[in-house]
């Protein structure tokens, strides 16, 4: 690591940023692949099924006991699925609006991956902060980027030039725009309490004063439910609603373009899980353990922090998957009713009450 000293600070910054981007990108992609597997497995278990348990690469025969167990868990399924998506025929129906049809999957994926940039997924590793972009307006950036995600779905529905995708995209535009408002308003009290928009500062505040989920339970519930709606997960999967709209906005897509939509959906789930961990559940810190709640220069502790963050995130991912089998899909008017007439007033009241409490009790 000698050569690092001879580099200028800006070169070092570019180098480390590039490294972090590649690492995070790799981790998120792997997490997406395995989230699909976890989804299939957990769904199977909830429905008293077995789930994927056959995919076995050739070298599995050389692993005596652990090999069959891994095959039974379906550990190799994501690789086979990925390969399948790459090798399938990429079919473009001839009645689609080509430009929008081609651009829509990209527009879905890119914002989903960009939101991960501001999330502090660990304290420090050596001297390097474990966040790609330590923005002072982190949360504003996130909401700005997340709201771009709706364009992908709308363009997919419009570009497909077919009735089911069109209905799906109409529903999604209404749904995602409606739920961005309560989602954005639900986090305002957190910044009132913490006094900063920087996500790193919020984690530091939580390490000192306890998790936000205890101080702002109403905000958490609203954010959680709005996150379900924003990521188009059941019980709010109206844009997709397989039983009504065939496949929703991605009915006409196949091969890697379809895979990109799934990738976007799961990357969104990961991003919103990460956001919930950061905002409400203390990020990479654990209470009652001093070594785990303060930044440390030790590499081992740094890695442990990252591990804590990913463990918390995994719990939220499992919640996302679990809820899918807990509740039936909401009707369209019920969805709008909850968004506009329940959550927005609740979030507003929460903001006012928090502001009053902060103003009168903290001075």
């Amino acid at each position: 690591m000698e050569f690092l000293q001879y580099l200028s600070p800006s070169t070092q910054f570019v180098l480390f940023s590039a490294l972090k981007i590649f690492a995070v990108f790799g981790v998120v992609m792997t997490a997406v692949a395995y989230a699909v597997l976890v989804e299939r497995k957990v769904s199977a278990w909830i429905q008293n099924r077995v789930g994927p348990n056959r995919t076995a690469p050739f070298f599995i025969n050389y692993l005596p006991v652990i090999g069959p167990f891994l095959v039974r868990l379906g550990i190799f399924q994501p690789m086979a699925d990925g390969l399948k998506f790459l090798l399938k025929e990429d079919f473009t129906p001839n009645y689609v609006r080509k430009v929008y049809f081609w651009i829509a999957p990209a527009i879905t994926v890119i914002p989903a991956l960009m939101t991960v940039a501001v999330i502090p997924f660990g304290s420090t590793l050596g001297t390097e902060k474990m966040v790609i972009a330590d923005l002072n307006v982190g949360i504003l950036y996130t909401f700005g980027i997340v709201s771009l995600g709706v364009y992908g779905i709308v363009l997919a529905g419009y570009g497909s030039n077919s009735k089911y995708p069109f209905l799906g995209s109409i529903r999604s535009s209404a749904q995602m725009i409606s739920y961005e408002i309560p989602m954005g308003m639900s986090v305002i009290p957190i910044f009132l309490v913490a006094g900063s928009l920087n996500l790193g500062d919020i984690i530091r505040y939580q390490a000192e004063h306890g998790w936000m989920i205890l101080k702002q339970p109403v905000a958490f519930v609203i954010f959680l439910i709005a996150a379900f709606a924003e990521t188009n997960r059941l019980p709010f999967d109206l844009p997709e609603s397989e039983s009504e709209l065939v496949g929703g906005y991605h009915t006409e897509y196949s091969s890697m373009k379809l895979a990109l939509f799934f990738l976007g959906e799961y990357a969104n789930m990961i991003a919103s899980s990460a956001m919930m961990v950061t905002l409400f559940c203390g990020g990479w810190t654990l209470p009652f353990v001093t070594a785990l709640s303060t930044p440390s220069s030790s590499i081992l502790i740094g890695l442990l922090h990252i591990g804590v963050f990913f463990a918390k995130m995994a719990l939220f991912m499992i919640l996302f998957i679990w809820v899918r089998w807990m509740l039936p899909r909401f009707r369209y008017d019920q969805l709008m009713d909850i968004g506009w007439r329940r959550f927005i007033p609740a979030a507003l009241i929460n903001i006012v009450v928090t502001a009053l409490v902060v103003a009168f009790l903290h001075d």
């Binding site: 909830i46 429905q47 008293n48 679990w322 509740l327």
Partner: protein, 186 residues
Amino acid sequence: MSTKVVARAPLTFYERTYLPTILSGLKVTAKHFTDTVFRGKTVTMEYPEERWVVPEGYRGAPYLVKDQEGAIKCVSCQLCEFVCPPKAIRITPPGADGAPADRTNAEKMPKEFEINMLRCIFCGMCQEVCPEEAIFLQKDYSLTGESRAEMIFDKAKLLKLGGTHGGVQKWKHKLEGAKAQEVFPV
């Protein structure tokens, strides 16, 4: 035609928060999850390793059978070939100077007996029509092959798969009867 108005109690505040629904959903899914993961209660039958018990009287693939003395029962009468609705059976009779039957007193046996398992509809008419009880629908339900030619089962294969199926041994009794006639003075 009168309509009956069902009185529906308005939802209470607690019910309108969706909480009871969420909790009951949580309970049901958690129960099924633990049942599957910790008690191994799955509804899945993992097919090639686990197989279902084929019930008696199941109409699987038709095979030729031998009698308890290992002789071919079929006498090449071609009734099954005639009755077969999808024309899956093809019998080549031995002809005038063909090989004789391999059991005494039976006139002939088929030179070749083929069943195209791709055509067969497992209706059981061949079994029903057979005067010799030589063909039976057995319990095989998953027939696979790598080519169409492979799915045409010939006489040797059908006999091998069919096994033995004892019966009244009509021809043996007739032979014994005939012999007895010769011995007993009338």
